[in-house]
Symmetry: D2
Subunit: 335 residues, 4 copies
């Protein structure tokens, strides 16, 4: 059994990690660390875990050694916290934004503060099994991309070489991406039914897409009515036809356990929709070709393939488990 702990365990990503790890047959959850709720039962904060666990949150100072440590702590905080916990586990898997961008200048441009641990930036392997499976198998430091970045990277990667460099990404997201801390903008009466363009340009995930696809990505992000779910619609141009593009997707994803190609001619479900994916680790990718316009689309659950699920997939790869272990839930329909 792999001994794992989760820091930031009271947040939404932390809770999703706990759901997946508690249900994982090869893993023992040693500690759920929370600064806010030490001593409280985990299921009092994550009520879906009732009868799944009797675990109680531990304080950060009580962190013990283990095999794998997950960091589901906030951006800008995690980089200050990492050096102090780096040695408590053989492998650290970070879900924050702090170690996704290897260039500290790019980090500062997108996060607004200088990086606190720039010397560690180069040591992290991106948590994208579809691109870095071999590296992940031996990585000690793993950084899971942003939810919208993962979606866009998986949508766009097969198009490299087939489309021009400029890509406009239109991302839509549910409210859970804003985390579990209440704020005026997250109040139900305000957020319900909204179409809120919270990043008209330069959403920070675009830097990750640019880095990992080689394209010049521009990302707009809008909050729409959903709790879970991210969808990206990527606008590119190129001369490849539909057959060639479908071939590229098949080549990249034919053997992938968690990427499905969804590009049908008709029907309500012809293209990727995160509505189908709540709780599942799938990223559905699809495309449409219309003359020189190539539209690539991806959908995922921001807390699963866009975060906790990708992290568990990385853990499976790193620890030699079957890559799909503990990640079998396919999603619901209708939902």
């Amino acid at each position: 059994m792999i001994r794992v702990s989760v820091m930031g365990a009271a947040g939404y990503l932390g809770g999703e990690l706990l759901r997946l790890l508690i249900g994982h047959p090869g893993v023992e959850v040693a500690q759920a660390i929370s600064t806010r709720f030490p001593g409280r039962r985990v299921d009092s904060v994550h009520p879906n875990l009732r009868s799944q666990t009797g675990l109680v949150f531990s304080a950060p100072d009580d962190l013990t050694d283990g095999d794998v440590l997950f960091l589901a702590t906030p951006h800008r905080t995690t980089m200050t916290l990492l050096p102090g916990v780096r040695d408590r586990a053989g492998t650290v898997i970070d879900l924050s934004g702090d170690f996704r961008l290897p260039d500290p200048a790019v980090y500062e441009r997108y996060y607004g503060v200088p990086h606190a641990a720039p010397e560690l930036l180069g040591a992290f392997v991106p948590g994208v099994p579809e691109m870095f499976r071999d590296d992940l198998a031996k990585a000690d430091l793993i950084s899971v991309p942003g939810c919208m970045a993962t979606a866009a990277i998986l949508a766009l990667r097969p198009l490299a070489g087939l489309v021009g460099p400029d890509v406009q990404i239109d991302a839509r997201t549910g409210s859970s991406g804003s985390g579990a801390m209440a704020g005026d903008g997250n109040l139900h009466a305000e957020r319900s039914g909204a179409m809120r363009v919270f990043a008209p340009s330069r959403h920070r995930h675009e830097a990750e897409v640019t880095r990992l696809t080689g394209l010049n990505a521009r990302m707009t992000a809008t909050g729409v009515e959903a709790v879970r779910g991210v969808q990206v619609v990527c606008h590119a141009t190129g001369t490849a036809g539909e057959r060639e593009i479908r071939g590229a997707y098949r080549e990249h994803y034919g053997g992938e356990p968690f990427v499905r190609i969804v590009a049908h001619r008709k029907g309500a479900h012809r293209l990727p929709d995160p509505k189908l994916l709540s709780g599942s680790n799938y990223c559905d990718v699809g495309f449409a070709v219309d003359g020189d316009r190539i539209t690539a689309i991806a959908a995922l659950d921001n807390l699963v393939k866009g975060g906790a699920g990708a992290a568990v997939q990385c853990l499976n790869i790193r620890t030699g488990h079957a890559e799909t272990l503990g990640l079998g839930f396919p999603g619901l329909h209708p939902a």
Copy 2:
């Protein structure tokens, strides 16, 4: 022109009062009072009022004299605040819970604190035009009932004498009833899609229903997915047949401008549904009879007929305007 001011103008009821009063042809809004946002534009907090008004919030200490003062301030605060502002306007219309229950012992039982101004309790006329129109025409102190109380009172009043004394009321409400202050339970990700029984029994509005209907009301309340909207389903028993009951509703409401009888045999809209009533001042009431079981149903927009709209209706009655003035919006379909 009637000169009116609103205290608690930054809240949801306050904003709804402003929407109705700004659009009211017989009223001039003198001040919008807010402890949180003095000096800020009203439309920065209530964005639906953009281009409707250039009004800026005033601090409570700057309250000036006027004809009518609306209090949309919190329960338990309003009763301490009222004596100090009582003389700033000829008529005070209170939307809080503090002056709805004439017996201070009943108030304390339902609100958990002793009443701070018990000597004033008897001076308020309930803001229910359907019952107190004549009194309201000359009232200087008016207390608008709770949103679920208004719905239940209007649903049940025609049944007095036709049903037994015990009535079980099942109330459902949208999230705006919890107000504009963010809290853990109001976070979109938590509240969205919920069916939250927040008062399994003894919801405080039951005391108002008991008082104004003479029935022995018991009320359960559940938050369901909606921003606006209240629905009550009232379970009573009696021997009256459908014809007699329909007659009672018609007798009570045939001439009422804001109560509609909705009791059809079939169709998706056969019984009252608040979905149709957002923004409107209607309370739809309906019923179904099955042997000795009599089910009375009512729906309204908690911020309009359940609060600000009822208050404006009272203002119209008190100031001699047409009762429907400024309250003409009928609601949308679909919505």
Copy 3:
């Protein structure tokens, strides 16, 4: 491996059965029968099953023999269909309403037509493991209760002997309970955000509650905004105190794998809410006591514990598998 087939496999309950059965390690899905879509891929209708199965719908006439046959066919149709398929499997598990009420006169009162196979009515064991586990272990004909009936039965059963006979049940349900066939009332623009009292009294599930609890159940049903999820709020009266009532729930459900007692003093999740249960086989039950008023509450996913999940739980019991096999998904938070 148990060989199972599903009739009515293109509907929502049929799809949920397929999801659970395809993921069940002790079961082989032989056939998915559909009158509408023979020859089409199952995942074209149930897109959450993409990459889970290559199964194609079969026509009813092509039904072959197997171990267990699930009927997810419509009310009133199933009773005419059952005699013809009774012998195609050792065990038949019916999810329709046609074999839930042993008295044909009661059936006719609630379903509006005479029963077509009254001689079979007595042969079915109700699919309520919490009451009939021993009988189910050897049952050849199993009838899964209605979704709201299951919720109410599990909420009320511990109260037998502690409350008076009359119980008013207020049931709320999501839209998936209306099935996968489009109709005017199910149109998104009409149904979204609705609070639709579609059964002001005498919802047909009340007959099942009356039968299995011995109480005199009256049920009102309202459609609220949700796709999945049922909640019942049951109003009873009695003299038992909270301690005694909690004891009764613990005695009944302490050892039950799929019933959790949720009755806390505070918090957004203090009482059962179906929002937490999408995809899971839990029925959460809770209660509140206030003087002589006893409110019992239950929540479940109408397609899982309220249908397909209960059916699979029955299959596990009948075939000697661990009762929880294939039913491990705990639900999501937030969702």
Copy 4:
């Protein structure tokens, strides 16, 4: 009083026309024409009009003469129907897509059928008061643009000359845009919470945008969770700075009664969101500038400014009424 009739009055646009026209002080609604429901009360189909009107639907053959005839009939049908009703009113205002594109070849490319009345195409004035006010004042044939087209045209028009010709438009829409006829894809359980890319490219409204802005518009359209509401996010490039762009918007819309500039630095409501606009005739437009990336955003209620409200605004202009008459509802917050 202007005598008006509405064809297609049982649909959602028809119902919204009736709501606005019944509440319009300068208009008398002569007939509500419906092929499906002749003889039925209008409020049985549009329940928000209860107590607003006793009108009964008329059959198409019973159409009488009037001053203004509104066509809220389907695309592809309207062009065959128009010649036969052209003379029944001095002014015809069409809300379908059939007379929006003056070039029949473009029509055929986007609607898939040859135009049935190409000789009339050039006679229609677009129902965009912000561009064609003078022409509308004397127009006998008016064609209201598509809802997403209106939003995009109003968002982009001030940028003409300031941005390059290629514009990518990402449009999102609620479910009411699909009309009142039930279909599999519109079923609540299917459509609820969806992010459905129903037009990955070449949405037909792009042809209208191209025509009226002179830009080379490409439009993607996605259905998101909402009943009413359209939002467009338009991606352009240019060298103009924020000050210059704000100036252009002010110059175009400073005097417009129904276009508001919403482009703030922060806050949940900093950019246009249709959530605020249900029932209102506003189109909110905003923008963000980031280097050479210019993002223009617009939001409106598809049934009001995107259809019936624009049509009534055109009627006001054509008949010499105040342009805002009958269109005063400002929208709700929260909603």
